[in-house]
Amino acid sequence: MKRPAFALILGVFVVSAACSTGSGPTSAAATPKAGGTLKVALESELRTLDPLKSSQRVERQVYYNMYDSLVTIDTSLKIKPGLATSWTYTDPTTLQFVLRQGVKFHDGTDFNADAVKFNIDRILNAASSPRKSELASVKSVEVKDASTVIFHLKKQDAALLAQLVDRAGMILSPAAIQKAGADLGLNPIGAGTGPFVFVEWKRDDHLTLKKNPNYWVPGRPYLDEVIYRPITDSNAALAALRTGDIDVAGTNAIADKDIASIKSDSSLVYKDIPGLSFEGFEVNGGSGVFADKAKRQAVALALDRAQILKNVFFDLHTLSRGPIPPTSWAIDSSENLYTAVDINKAKSMATGFSFALKTPNTPGSIQEATLIKDQLSKAGITANIQTEEFGQILTEASAHKFDAALVGWSGRIDPDGNMYGWFHTGGGFNDGQYSNPQVDSLLEQARVASDQAARKPLYDQAQKILVEDVAYIFIGHGPAQEIASAKVHNFPLIADSIDRFAEVWKG
């Protein structure tokens, strides 16, 4: 009796698979239509709605639609005006912003220089906030007049503007912050100035934003409402997208293995560009087996990155040449040192040693680690896979108690964000204890250099050295993705993989 039932299920599956092949997405440039609700799946639930306390990439997906920052970026990652209309360095350590006038917070209070000072001071006084280190160069903020604010810096910081694009530069209503008190992270009523207004957050179920009718960009947003749903199971997110239960799946909400089926579904749209992240594994150069540079180089030479990208990431990720992603102006595309596998050279550097590879206990990571183990064995290197909960790996990596660990980085707009904390001596994320005075000096110079043209050669040099030193085993850069129903139009695909919905409309 069981067989016919199983055959029926299998039959339905096969028929549906056969029916779901179709042509790629079509996107017609049409007149934007106002109205409608956009339903969005997020890879996980948020922890907090307070940018001060935020530490998850997924939280930024919601923030960017309800809060505005002083400055923002365009698709080429160039800094554009946001809540500040212009900015000038009156001297190398004094940065003056002219603020947009007539902007109101969702609670009806005015956005002005006092609000900017209030928010920045809040960060400077919060020792436990990840934002504090982002604004480490800021000494104080001065209100010149209602629409002019001056940042006094401890030292020059070429990466500061890029930091102000993100959470450190988001300006919330001081009145709303004070009113919400300890509950700001849960219920930020009226706190933003953004295109959408916070309505409610039923944790683990949905978070609703509605259109801000007084948004400072005339005629925007088009949508009436955005509803976010955390769908942690990739299969469930895919099913919800197929059935129209959601319109958009955020980057990472759908597993790489399922992207091919989305590409072949004519009712869905898939597009991607290389994102800002880097992935691979940390190596502990401070102590243990990888204190020997030759062994790190042997591992880097024996790895077949292309095979990993193909088998684990389904060719959706881009081969990594170093910490700088291909989308950045600071990419050194001539860097090719470890992009091809060379077993003989690897063996000549070092062979016959073993190390522990700490691997998060998720199927994708274990698959990646297994492939790495297999590849390295060809060069006589033994990788012993140690699967652990990700939190445990983070704890041990911070304490430098590891040989190698599969820990990546979500990436930042400015190259400084992908390099300084990771590879400067004593940097906040420098788990591998990499230390090279030359790299330190280059990264410091790049921070105080005046413009991109001056910074680029410094980053090129720094990258060359730390790639050669194998400060980290770079494998790939993850994509920024548009995964949506074909009814969703005008989706701005930006390398920071944050979905901004002010311009999006539903047809």
């Binding site: 907090t48 020792a127 906030s129 990840p130 849960l186 039923k202 469930a236 099913a239 059935t243």
Partner: protein, 303 residues
């Protein structure tokens, strides 16, 4: 009840602190600069000695204050209470369909022992206990949601918003969650019924001329249900465990998801509160099971 709850809280507190994970590191994630980690540990009181942390927690708990989540800063009581209705609804539906299907199915299988109905029922029970519920869930979503578009693939609508939509979204997770218990209950009902049917008093009842219907419903079933009730009582726990998986697959905003996130996030106050809630629900279920015995068999009394 109070000593049990106390022991449970001590055990959980000790066990969860044995794991080598620092919640402050987890909260800060990839943005964990050493300075921020130290400051956050201090802010959350995690740098104080463990016994002191426990005493602070228990003294507040005794006054009804379970504290705030260290991840989200949400009050623990609120976090649990706002998710409890969804889990209760899902659990009740799963148990209800499991009992409503299992008792008739088990009874018929026992009465028609060896017949195709019995083979079918036994086959179902083997399949039901062997197939893990995450697989059943994914299969149901694939076939009934994605392919046939009969049900939404997940999500939750509160009863107060729309009763039809609520029930529509409830069916697949309830089937998923209740399949294992249905299978077990069918087996128990069947074997217990077979046992009872062999008893002398059944033969006596038949000999006195009582109809089959009277014998089955009036004599056999009531007695056969006593072990089944015990099992159903135990299953309340199994349902809560199963809810951890089912709620994740169907994006159901219940306490199962909260528990998983809190355990992985080392959110001590929420875990403590959750365990207390579970211990309490076990104790209440045991009480209900004891009362059900007395109703099913009046000879059992609690004078």
């Amino acid at each position: 009840m109070v000593p049990v709850a106390f022991l449970v809280s001590v055990a959980v507190f000790s066990l969860i602190h044995l794991t080598p994970v620092d919640p402050a590191e987890l909260i800060l994630g990839e943005e964990r600069t050493p300075e921020a980690v130290v400051a956050l540990r201090h802010e959350l009181g995690l740098d104080r000695p463990l016994p002191e942390q426990y005493v602070t927690w228990i003294s507040h708990a005794l006054r009804g204050d379970l504290g705030r989540s260290i991840r989200t800063n949400q009050p623990v009581t609120q976090a649990i209470l706002e998710r409890l209705p969804a889990t209760l609804e899902l659990g009740t539906a799963a148990l209800a369909w499991s009992v409503l299907l299992a008792i008739p199915l088990g009874t018929i299988a026992a009465l028609r022992r060896g017949s195709p109905v019995d083979v079918l029922a036994t086959g179902f029970t083997i399949l039901g206990v062997s197939v893990p519920n995450f697989f059943i869930g994914i299969l149901l979503i694939l076939v009934l949601s994605v392919n046939l578009r009969l049900f939404p693939p997940g999500g939750f609508t509160p009863l107060t918003d729309s009763i039809p939509d609520n029930l529509h979204r409830l069916i697949l997770p309830a089937i998923t969650l209740g399949t294992v218990t249905t299978a077990i209950n069918t087996r128990f009902t069947r074997s217990s019924m077979l046992e009872v049917l062999r008893q002398d008093y059944i033969r006596t009842a038949r000999a006195k001329g009582a109809s089959w219907r009277q014998v089955i419903v009036g004599h056999a079933l009531k007695n056969a249900l006593i072990p089944v009730v015990t099992v159903v009582g135990i299953q309340v726990g199994a349902i809560l465990e199963g809810a951890l998986v089912t709620e994740t697959i169907f994006s159901w905003p219940g306490i199962g998801k909260l528990a998983i996130d809190s355990i992985f996030g080392r959110d001590y106050p929420i875990i403590q509160g959750f365990v207390l809630a579970i211990a309490l629900s076990y104790m209440l279920t045991n009480l209900a099971v004891d009362l059900a015995y007395a109703w099913l068999n009046p000879r059992i009394s609690y004078a």
